[in-house]
C-alpha cells in the first residue's frame, strides 16, 4: 500500500543535505554584518521561510481555482496541503523576524505595515482551518475553502508590497527602501551566496513537504471512503 516513490526518497535525502549546507553557509560562511552582529544571520532563513510561505498560499489559490473549475476532490487535497505547510513556514518567518527585531529595533514587535499585514495573512489562513472544521458536507467544505483561498491569496501581494508602498521601518534588501527603514544592509558577494542558496533550499524543502502532505491527504481520503464502505 502506497509505497514511498523513489523520487520522493531522493528528494528527502536532497533536502537533508541542502538544509545542512544552507545552515553552514548562513551561520559560518556568510560574514558577520558589523552594525547588527550575528543576529543578521537569521535573515537568510527568515526571508526563505517567508518566500515559501507566500508560494504555498498562492499555490493554494491556484488549487482553489482548479477545484472550482473541475469540482475534482483531488484539488481540495492539494489546496489543504499547500495551506498547512505555508502556515508553518510563515509562522517561522514571523517568529524569526521578531527575534531579529529585538536587538535591532529594540522591540519584539511593532505594528508597522509589513508586520501587521504578515500577521493578518497568518490569521487568515489559520481561520481557513476553522472554516473547514465547521462544515461537514465534503463538497460544500471544498467549495467554500476554494473560494476562501482565492480571497485569502489577495493578502499575499499586499504583504509582499507593504514595505515598498508604505513608509516603514522594515528594511527592503532587494530594491529601494523607505528612509525610515532600520536594520537595512548591503549584501556582500558571500552573503548573496548564502541568501540565494537558502531560497533555493527552502523551495526544494517546500516541494518535498508538499508531496508528503498531498500523499497524506490522499491516504486520509481513502480511509474515509473505506470507513463509509465498512459502515454500509
Amino acid at each position: 500500500m502506497n509505497k514511498k516513490p523513489v523520487g520522493l526518497l531522493a528528494l528527502d535525502i536532497s533536502c537533508l543535505v541542502l538544509l545542512a549546507v544552507a545552515t553552514y553557509l548562513a551561520i559560518i560562511f556568510a560574514p558577520m554584518e558589523v552594525n547588527m552582529g550575528n543576529v543578521q544571520k537569521v535573515f537568510y532563513f527568515h526571508v526563505a521561510n517567508a518566500w515559501v510561505g507566500m508560494l504555498g498560499f498562492i499555490a493554494a489559490g491556484v488549487a482553489g481555482i482548479a477545484y472550482l473549475r473541475s469540482q475534482d476532490p483531488k484539488w481540495d487535497i492539494v489546496e489543504v496541503a499547500a495551506v498547512e505547510i505555508s502556515l508553518v513556514f510563515f509562522l517561522i518567518a514571523i517568529i524569526l523576524g521578531s527575534i531579529w527585531a529585538r536587538p535591532v529595533w529594540n522591540t519584539w514587535w511593532t505594528w508597522e505595515p509589513r508586520l501587521t499585514t504578515a500577521a493578518i495573512t497568518e490569521m487568515i489562513y489559520l481561520a481557513y482551518f476553522m472554516l473547514r472544521g465547521g462544515i461537514e458536507d465534503p463538497n460544500r467544505r471544498a467549495r467554500f475553502s476554494a473560494v476562501y483561498t482565492l480571497v485569502g491569496a489577495v493578502s499575499v501581494p499586499i504583504t509582499f508590497m507593504a514595505i515598498r508602498f508604505f513608509r516603514t521601518i522594515h528594511p527592503v534588501v532587494i530594491g529601494s527602501q523607505s528612509a525610515q527603514a532600520q536594520g537595512g544592509f548591503n549584501m556582500t558577494p558571500d552573503m548573496k551566496i548564502a541568501f540565494f542558496f537558502s531560497l533555493f533550499t527552502f523551495t526544494i524543502v517546500f516541494i518535498d513537504l508538499f508531496w508528503h502532505r498531498i500523499r497524506l491527504g490522499f491516504l486520509a481520503n481513502k480511509v474515509e471512503e473505506l470507513k463509509l464502505k465498512v459502515m454500509e
Partner: protein
C-alpha cells in the same frame, strides 16, 4: 568612542533553534498522522474483507 559590533549571537542561536524546533515538530506530526492513517486503513481493509462472503 570607537564603534563596536553588538554581541547578538544569542539571538542568532535562538532563531535557528526556533526554526529547527518547529520544523522537526511539523515533520514528526506528519509522520505520526501517516502511521495512524496507515494503521486505520489496514484495519478497515481487514474489516471490509471479512464482510465479503
Amino acid at each position: 568612542m570607537p564603534f563596536t559590533t553588538p554581541e547578538t549571537t544569542n539571538y542568532m542561536i535562538a532563531g535557528y533553534a526556533v526554526f529547527f524546533g518547529i520544523f522537526i515538530l511539523f515533520i514528526t506530526s506528519m509522520a505520526i498522522r501517516w502511521s495512524n492513517l496507515k494503521r486505520d486503513f489496514l484495519t478497515l481493509e481487514e474489516l471490509d474483507n471479512s464482510k465479503k462472503p
